[in-house]
Symmetry: C2
Subunit: 340 residues, 2 copies
């Protein structure tokens, strides 16, 4: 199949860019130093490429992601880096031979792990992002409680999500250190072999964690492209120009193709920055449900590539991605870890 | 099944609110005066309720929506209110007995309709939104061209999408009139029985179109709730509090549950407005991929209902919706018109 024959709108993955990104990361963080976060792509075929790059432990955000990974034989060491109150489906995976570790940050989540048949946990520590995680000073006590109840505590995790996207590299490094000092203090009290943290924005500077949970690096998006990382854009939405006017054109990909929380997508091969039209009016003007209006206009039937602003919620809209090399489609990958 | 037993995150539809909305709209725009836009819900079970309310002609935004509607016997009069360049799948529907009319705004889309076997078209007219549609003055000529090539031209459509969301009612009415004067001028040149336009924000004031393409009215969202329309909120995302801290809680529904282009969701039963935390810090703070952080905090295990800011791209994330009445789940509806 040729790229020109792909029906639009369609998610595209540039195989060469993906391969570059996987190799670059595997060189920086080989083997277990990276625990790839599969929430970023929701695709077991891509996870298999990550495994072939040497990473056998994975991070998940949902139970369905854990189930899907175990189903394709990638369940050797799954971390559900999130709190869950009904862990029965995870317990069933453990029963079937997968290794599943779940994050806990409260008595309730400890009890839930036990009730569902999960035997291994990480203590989730709040390192500055107002989201999940216990305050660092209380982490040791929670670990004691988990161990008293029979759970294996493998260590700590603490996601510096308020830091990974900071464009100023020095500021990112300074805040990363602050967060990780909190996590290391908690780890002193908790013990265990794992200090799990980080993301694509901090993978190279977070030298305190002993495993990094990066995911976006594999495919990238316009938000992370602003950080001058050594990863290439591998993800596009292919669209067809269906209407054109004096001053603008309309492509057939819209709000149901793109996670919009970081703004609108950008046109490939333009100077237009993330989610804005440039001062001269070129770039993406706006998205509607099934449309993206942009300038300068192109001809009806022309195809355009759009770069999503945020990879994770973009993947969750699509059933499949077309893997391409040059002008050829070399595989079609189901986005098979969607839903919950 | 009880609402309390629904696994979270989950899309909920309040059956009583839905019934109210359908009845309210059917009273205002009975039968063919409304051509419900099913892109807003992507659910044939809900479309069937609209048909039971007297509307047998429907508006679609994608080929997959047309196919799904025809497959369940709701293909008596489908308008694909969008330009498409490969209409073969639509031609196959016509062949199988569905009535499919497609929007055209160029020589290319006319040729595409013919090539794929579609025989009926509407001339899509630009009435002010920089998206699809031919300038009004050129509409008559395009209709002539379509007829010369053997197509049946059923009339005009012109979506005042730049108007439907205006909060100021007088401004909305004035701009609606301006847009519809453009559409009526085009209709004079084009002819045909259909003048198709409008949306939930203009359904009551657009007295120029003879059919209205409203869709959001059935379920509603926080954006449309600001317009003081007589429709009730029928759509929620049900989530469970999985973590709580001094000052905030975290529910297990995030960016992969909500179309975010109109902002973050709102907590049900609060004074907090669309996508903002109130001055006192209460309301939704932010969403991450699988989390919504909000205040004031609740207990771990508590359930919360969130109201999406934009219904259409929210529906497209979910496989199913739970229809509920009081505390009971009375049906589970597949969101079966997703994809393209």
């Amino acid at each position: 199949m040729k790229l020109a024959d792909v029906p639009t709108p369609a998610l595209l993955i540039d195989e060469m860019a993906l391969a570059h990104n996987l190799a670059e990361m595997a060189a920086a963080l080989p083997g277990p130093r990276l625990r790839p976060h599969i929430k970023a792509h929701k695709c077991t075929a891509l996870a298999r490429r990550q495994a072939e790059s040497g990473h056998e432990s994975f991070t998940c955000a949902t139970i369905a992601e854990c189930e899907g990974m175990a189903a394709v034989g990638l369940g050797a060491d799954l971390l559900l880096a999130n709190e869950v109150l009904d862990t029965r489906r995870l317990g069933a995976l453990v029963e079937d031979g997968a290794r599943v570790t779940v994050a806990v940050d409260s008595a309730e989540t400890i009890d839930a792990a036990i009730a569902g048949g999960v035997r291994e946990v990480l203590i989730d520590v709040n390192v500055g992002l107002p989201r999940c995680g216990i305050p660092p000073a209380a982490a040791g006590q929670l670990a004691d409680q988990a161990r008293r109840k029979g759970l294996q505590v493998r260590g700590v995790m603490g996601y510096e999500g308020h830091v990974v996207g900071l464009v100023d590299a020095a500021e990112r490094a300074a805040q990363c250190q602050e967060s990780m000092e909190l996590l290391l203090a908690a780890h002193t009290d908790v013990g265990g072999e794992l200090i799990s943290a980080g993301g694509t924005g901090t993978y190279a500077i977070n030298t305190w964690a002993n495993e990094i949970q990066a995911g976006s690096y594999a495919l990238m998006d316009t938000a992370y492209n602003e950080l001058s990382l050594p990863f290439r854009q591998a993800l596009y939405v292919l669209a067809t120009v269906i209407s054109t006017a004096e001053g603008w054109s309309v492509a057939n990909a819209g709000l149901k193709c793109f996670g919009m929380d970081h703004g609108a997508p950008s046109l490939d091969n333009t100077e237009a920055l993330n989610n804005t039209e440039a001062l001269d009016g070129t770039g993406v003007w706006f998205c509607s449900d099934e449309h993206t209006t942009f300038a300068p206009p192109k001809r009806v039937g022309d195809r355009v590539r759009l770069i999503p602003a945020h990879v994770d919620p973009t993947m969750a809209y699509h059933e499949r991605a077309y893997l391409f090399r040059g002008e050829d489609v070399v595989d079609v990958w189901p986005i098979d870890l969607r839903g919950w």
